[in-house]
Symmetry: C2
Subunit: 261 residues, 2 copies
């Protein structure tokens, strides 16, 4: 599920046939990029230049690209990261989902000569989610946006098109996966405390969990190594640090937290 990016799109958008020549009509992709920082689940968003609407990072599929390569290319452009953990989670295909694309208005407002009828086509969009190390990302806007930034999940309001629905479906997918797969390797630092780990789960689930139950359940999965060190600098009694046992973590990804048949 790690994809490696080895190309970028040449930006010659003044050519009126730029999109029609380079990309597959009717197909787009949208990426829900999650990061964890300051005990908050963050999502990477773009602000459109003209409409000022917020949107998920996305793009189109080049004639010779797979969807996975297209998503990796888009995310490299937005984050600077080369190797990205990403996963298809759903295709969004409501016939009305892209009928009023603000990008069309943006293109007209911007005076660009690019083929704006491209955006009048119906698009089905393949949703990917990515789990990234917040500290390593250097957000960069795309051609249509003037800002690329992290927003805390709790602060996200109305997004462009059906992007709230796409975000919610990604969250539902993550939440359901917490029931049978481990999570955290791409979101937490190498060493972390049990309260930090619990906070990650609580942020994704949107609810508080019982401290003892969480610890008992987590330790029973056998995916953690308890370290000798303790976290320093806190006001309270210093909590122990943990790291993932990568071999067991990988096994739990493959067979589920409760083992296979």
């Amino acid at each position: 599920m790690f994809y490696f990016c080895d190309k970028t799109v040449k930006s010659v958008r003044h050519d009126p046939n730029f999109y029609n020549q380079q990309f597959l009509r009717h197909i787009s992709l949208d990426c829900v990029v999650f990061g964890f920082h300051d005990n908050q689940l963050k999502v990477l968003l773009l602000r459109m230049k003209y409409s000022k609407e917020w949107a998920l990072p996305g793009g189109f599929v080049q004639n010779d690209e797979s969807l996975e390569l297209a998503a990796t290319r888009v995310l490299k452009e937005r984050t600077g990261l080369d190797q990205i953990f990403l996963k298809q989670f759903n295709v969004f295909s409501d016939p009305n989902r892209s009928k009023t694309n603000p990008a069309v208005k943006d293109l007209i407002d911007s005076g660009e000569e690019t083929d704006s009828d491209w955006f009048n086509h119906r698009f089905i969009s393949v949703g990917f989610y990515a789990l990234l190390d917040f500290s390593k990302v250097e957000p960069k806007p795309d051609f249509f946006s003037d800002l690329c930034a992290w927003q805390s999940l709790s602060e996200i309001r109305t997004l462009m098109l059906d992007h709230n629905q796409i975000l919610n479906k990604a969250l539902d997918t993550l939440r359901f996966q917490l029931n049978y797969q481990p999570i955290g390797y791409n979101l937490l630092p190498d060493k972390f405390t049990m309260p930090e780990f619990q906070k990650l789960y609580e942020t994704i689930l949107g609810k508080e969990l019982d401290r003892r139950n969480f610890q008992r359940k987590m330790l029973s999965y056998n995916i953690l190594n308890k370290l000798e060190e303790r976290k320093t600098g806190g006001a309270h009694k210093a909590p122990f640090l943990y790291e993932f046992n990568l071999e067991n973590y990988e096994k739990a990804l493959q067979n589920g937290l409760y083992g296979g048949w």
Copy 2:
């Protein structure tokens, strides 16, 4: 995940623009239809009229259809069934996957005037799997095929295009789901014995399971009602019959077999 079909495509394929006018270019769907019969996992396949290659049932997306409606329409045409349990599981987008589509040759061989350049486009295909009651299906070939029939999983050889890969990915998805979600409601009769239930798991997993472990694990999930009746007619001691406890089955689908957070 149950979709209801309320339309079919008018078959006017002699119009040379039939496909270009009705469907979204570059997007197709393929359905892996599973049924269970005689202790065998069966897959519904089509035999192409001219090339005689075997293929998964599939189709295209009409201009005003969602993917789910398109898949339901296609499956209604192939199975006669209206209400179908189906699920998107992956999008197949290798740029070379549809480069040598035998449908093109079939169209030429058949002398059809339909727009054969349609099939020369690159297609990304959305994979759906469906779990159907074998006994209720009335297989019906499509425009390109002369036979629609169930084949036992163990007997399936080379399929058209990347359809083996699509089938295998559907199987992997089912296999992984056995680790955290119940299965069987759409595949088994209303009343079934524990050995029949075990056989379903064994067929999907492609390996034998220990009888006692299977029974112990299954009963611990609390998704079965044990009935007073026993199965009659067998040579051995008549085994008890079970039915699904639908309320708990539904809960386990929602939160996983081991419960949520």
